[in-house]
Each structure stands twice: as C-alpha cells, then as structure tokens.
C-alpha cells in the first residue's frame, strides 16, 4: 500500500514539484518582465498623451487632417490619446515577446513563429482598418445621397453599404491570415450575388411598375424638383 502510494502519487507530485521549481526562475522572470512592461507601457502612454496634449498635438492633427481620418474609423477620443494608446500598446507587446523569450526554447519558438506571422497580421490589421475607413466613408456618402434623393430607408441602405464593406474587409483579412481559405470568399460571393440577384428578380417581377416609375422619376428628377417645390434656387 505504501509502495503504491509512493509510485502513484508521491513520485509524480515530486516530479511536478521539481519541474515547477526548475521552471520557476524563468516563470518569475517572465512575470517580472510582464509587470515591468505593463507599468512601462502605462507610463509611456501617459507621458506621450500628456506631452502631446501640452504641445497641442490635437490641434495640429486637426489641421493636418489626421483627426478626421481617426474620426472616420470611429476611434476618435483625441489624436494625442490615440497616439499614446498606440505607443503604450507597443511597449506592452514588446514586453510580452520578451517574457515569452525568457521561458526557454518553447517560448523562443513561439516568439520566432510570432515574428514570422507578424507581417501577415499587420497586413490583415491594415486591411481591416482601410475597410473600416471605406465603410464609414461610403456608408456616410450613401446616407447623404439617399436622404437628398428622398429615398425611404436611407439609414437602412447606408447600414447595408457599411456592413457589406466591413464583411468584405474582414473576409479579405482572414484570407490573408490563412483562415477559411477560399471558402469564405466563395461564401461571400454566393451570399452577395444571391442578394443582388434576388433583389433584381423581386424588383423586376413583383415591382416592374415600381421599377418603371423609379427610373422615370430618376431621369426627370431635376425637372420634378423645380416643379414640386416651385422655388428657383439660383
């Protein structure tokens, strides 16, 4: 019984304990690096944020059009804040990689693989950012155009435009990361094509009179505006 206890419980526990003890310095070092990195990241963020605020960077960014770009992606909380967050995030990421590296060969391998993967990740992030910009910009353009053309459901139309562009950007980004492969792109194509074809058939068959009226009114829009409103604008 005593021997069984020794073999089944005591020895594995000892082994685990020894392994933990041998790994503890690396783990502690990694934790310390992470904590220091976190504090350094927070400090860098605060210093840059406050420094840029002091230097009136927000005003400069506004003049350079940078603020407008940030606002268009929906990230706007002040250009200084965004730059500070980005710098702090970079420090934190760097400390994370350093911490992984201190964990020994397995950690180093992870870091190596991360660096191989990094360009793809950055490209994917860039694709999503550009997609977000395009979605916000084109969505707003569609909203304003639909309002001025007095179309019913202008917000719905703008939302659909935004959603489609976001979807397209995410699918392209995922494809770049090797997630989903061509399946995602084909799925998107099938869904998008299906929606367009479905709408075309529905509009053409069920609403051919409506389609004719819509086309006629589009062609005569300028004349109709004057006719309906009466005023001469210029």
């Amino acid at each position: 019984m005593n021997e069984l206890w020794q073999r089944a419980v005591r020895e594995p526990l000892d082994q685990l304990w020894n392994q933990m003890m041998s790994y503890l310095p690396q783990l502690s070092a990694a934790l310390v690096v992470l904590v220091v990195g976190g504090v350094a990241g927070w400090l860098v963020k605060q210093v840059i944020y406050r420094g840029l605020r002091l230097l009136r960077f927000d005003r400069l960014a506004e003049r350079l059009g940078l603020a407008a770009v940030i606002e268009r992606v929906g990230l706007y909380r002040g250009s200084s804040y965004v730059v500070g967050q980005f710098a702090g995030g970079l420090v934190l990421l760097f400390s994370l990689l350093l911490a992984l590296n201190t964990l020994g060969p397995a950690g180093s391998d992870l870091v190596l693989r991360f660096f191989v993967f990094l360009p793809h990740l950055l490209t994917a992030v860039l694709i999503v950012l550009v997609g977000g910009l395009a979605a916000a910009f084109l969505g707003r353009g569609a909203l304003i155009a639909a309002v001025n053309a007095r179309l019913a459901g202008a917000r719905l139309l703008a939302g659909a435009v935004r959603l489609l562009i976001w979807l397209l950007a995410v699918i392209v980004a995922l494809g770049h990361l090797g997630v989903g492969g061509p399946t995602l792109a084909i799925t998107f194509g099938v869904i998008f094509g299906g929606i367009v074809t479905g709408l075309a058939i529905a509009f053409g068959i069920a609403g051919k009179d409506l389609a004719r009226q819509a086309l006629e009114s589009l062609l005569k829009r300028g004349a109709r505006e004057e006719e309906d409103e009466g005023v001469r604008h210029l």
Binding site: E62, A68, R72, A146, V147, G222, E225, E229, H233
Partner: protein
C-alpha cells in the same frame, strides 16, 4: 501657362485680326441656340446705340454645343434701320465664336473671354448669359459705362426677382457675402457683369482655373475677389431677369455644393480681410429702378418641410460630428414637431451656416459630404421663408431678407469664434 496657350488657335487668329478693341462683350454658352440669337442682337444693338464711336467685339465662348449655338451667334441679324440710331457706328462690331479649352464649365468660358479682352487691350469687358430672354440693348450700356466713365472695376447686376426666385442667393450667398466683406451686392451670382481691364487681368493671373472655379463657382469667385481685394464695385439696375429654365440635370445638391463650397473656400483665402470688418455699406446703385412684371412662381412648401424633417432625423449622426449640441437639440425638436407649426428661424439658420463654414475650414468631415448634408436644412429654411411670406408682397419679402442679413452681421463674431475652434 503663357497667355497664347489659353486661346484656341482660331480664336487667337481672329483676335489678332481685330487687333485692338475698347469694349468686349462675352457670351458664355452651351446649347443655347434657342436664345443666343436674341442675346447677340440685343448686345449688338446696345453697342451700336451707346458706343458707336468705340471699337467693340462680341465673343461667344462655347462649351461644345451640339445644337448649332456658334452658328446662331454668327448668323444673328441686326436690323440697323430699326434701331433708330442717332449716329451710325463708326466701326463694325466684330463677332468671334470659339470653343474654350480646359475643364468644362462657365469659368473656363469666362477665362477665354477675359484672355481675348486682354489680348485686345479692351478698356472694359462685360459678360452676359446666353439663355436670357429679358435682355435689352440698354443692359450693355449699364454694364459697361460705369467702368468706362466712372472708374468702377466691377459692375454687378441688380434685378427685380420674384420672392421665391434665387433662394440660394437670398438665404446664403447674398447675406453671407455682405456680412463677410461689409459691402451689399444684392446679386453676387447674377450672371451678368462688367469688368475693368485691371480686374480682368487680376482674375486671369489667379491660379484657380483648374479648380472648381473653372466649373460653376466663377460668379461668386469674381464678386468676392473684387470685394476682398479692394476693387471699386457698383450695381446697376437691369429690371427683370427672365431666362430659360436650368438644365434639369443640375440638381439642387450639386448647385449647393458648388456655390457654397466656393464661398467657404474663398473665406479661407480672404480670412484676414473678413475677420477685420463688421457691418456693411451698400455698393452704389445706378440705373432707373422701374417696376416690372414677374413670372408667377408656384410653391409647395410641404414637400420641402418633409424633406427637412426626414433629413434631420436620418442625418443626425452626421450633424452630431460638427454641429454644436444646442443646434443639434433644436434640429431634433424641429424634426419631431408638427409640420404645420414648423419654422426654422433666421437666428438658427445663420448659426447652422456658420457651423458648416467652420466645419469646412477645420475639415471635421469630408468636405463634399459636409456640403451635401446642407440640402435638407436649406430646404427647411426655404419652406419656413415661404410659410412666413406667402401673403407678403415682393417688397415685404425683401424686408425679411434684410432682417436675415442683419442676423448674419449680428452673429459674425460667432462665426469668427467657431472658425477658430472656440
């Protein structure tokens, strides 16, 4: 670009052949065969009657008309014996019809006319629209004589218009130009102008001819340049302006974007000038202000009100990105109010225009989107104006415009503050 490059080769030859001229009258055109013959006859008669001892040239600058507009210009006959001239012209009135080069638009047509006037060493240049039905020979004299005899550089038209004719001019262009540059020019984008050689040369020297000015913003650009750069400006009374309906393709939003965009761009160019002045004085007005019959205008404010309310609701997130919270709240209240009781008052309208100008300057939003989003608000102001003045005479409606102008002037400091981000 050297001067010689601006004029097409055939126009340059024609100008060289004429040599020199005292007065040049330009007629920009695009598919105006139906009306341009009448305009050319009126201009020819005016030149023969009032400037018979001067060398005069009529230049038609055409945008590639497909309806025979240039032929109509060259073939228009003036029956001299029916003009009852006191003196017969000493010199024949030359006519040149030429296509213009550059971006399509009225501005490029003007550039060709100004270049020809410069090459001809003209002392005065006038431009008149090709779609006019109410032009008389006297218009030429009224546009040219203040330049030749009284030393004015810029002669703007002053028309009698129906109270609902020219609502972009009445709601934004006239009051804002007046408040900015402290001079009252009632029709800053009238279409008919007289210019001195000095101003023509100054306009030609500006590097704007490849921008939107070359397209449709040319009228407000010329008026603003004349006012902001200290040229002598006056107005002449031309009676009623009746013209062919606008091209149906040119819709309201496009017009607003071009005109208001040009106004706001010019505010950036002349920022120091307009910030330094307050109040306004009228530009001298010449001519005899006789009463005229105006074409009736049938108005439907309900449709504009519904466009305003729907626009306010749908564009709320767009407006939230640049309008002050109190203005947003006011728009929200109006958007959800009863249409019958809805009025967008002058003070609110002026503050909205100022916030749009500031957002344009600070690039808070894409500029085209910003200007396009003005359309529903503009329709709200027009509908409110119509509801306020339905029973009013044209003169009473003009008093309402005067009150609006005073609101623009009173609130000018708000514009300065908003412009500077305060």
């Amino acid at each position: 670009m050297p001067d010689a490059d601006i004029l097409p080769a055939d126009a340059r030859q024609a100008v060289d052949k004429v040599g020199e001229a005292d007065v040049v009258v330009g007629i920009p055109s695009y598919n105006n065969a139906r009306t341009i013959g009448h305009v050319v006859r009126a201009v020819s008669a005016g030149l023969a009657r009032h400037f018979s001892d001067l060398h005069c040239v009529i230049i038609n600058s055409d945008g590639g008309s497909a309806d025979g507009t240039p032929q109509a210009v060259l073939e228009a006959q003036v029956e001299a014996d029916k003009l009852l001239l006191v003196r017969h012209p000493l010199h024949p009135v030359h006519r040149i019809s030429t296509p213009y080069h550059g971006l399509p638009g009225k501005g490029s047509a003007f550039r060709t006319i100004f270049q020809a006037a410069k090459n001809l060493h003209a002392k005065a240049c006038a431009v008149v629209d090709a779609d006019l039905r109410s032009i008389t020979p006297d218009w030429v004299e009224l546009l040219v004589r203040p330049v030749l005899q009284q030393g004015f550089d810029y002669v703007a038209p002053y028309y009698r218009r129906h109270k609902y004719d020219g609502t972009i001019t009445n709601s934004i262009v006239y009051p804002l130009t007046r408040a900015l540059y402290a001079t009252r020019v009632r029709q800053p984008i009238g279409g008919e102008f007289g210019l001195s050689a000095g101003l023509t040369e100054r306009l030609l020297s500006k590097k704007v001819w490849e921008t939107d000015v070359a397209r449709y913003g040319v009228d407000i650009w010329m008026t603003t340049t004349a006012l902001a750069e200290g040229f002598r400006v006056c107005q002449v009374y031309l009676g009623a302006k009746l013209h062919d309906p606008k091209d149906p393709g040119s819709d309201l939003t496009a017009m607003l974007v071009q005109v208001v965009g040009s106004l706001f761009s010019l505010m950036e160019e002349y920022e120091k000038r307009w910030k330094a002045v307050r109040g306004s004085v009228p530009a001298p007005l010449y001519g005899f202000p006789y009463a005229v019959g105006l074409e009736p205008v049938r108005v439907n404010p309900e449709r504009m009100l519904s466009a305003f309310q729907e626009g306010c609701r749908d564009l709320e997130p767009v407006y939230a990105s640049f309008l002050r919270p109190d203005l947003q709240a006011e728009l929200k209240r109006l958007a959800n109010g009863q249409p019958a009781e809805l009025r967008l008052d002058d003070m609110l309208w002026v503050q909205l225009v100022f916030d749009f100008a500031a957002a344009f300057h600070r690039r808070t939003l894409d500029r085209k989107h910003l200007l396009e989003s003005l359309t529903p608000l503009y329709l709200g102001w027009v509908a409110s104006f119509v509801l306020r003045t339905q029973e009013a005479s044209d003169d009473e409606a003009e008093q309402q415009i005067e009150r609006l102008c005073r609101a623009y002037e009173q609130l000018k400091q708000t514009l300065v503050d908003r412009w500077e981000g305060r």
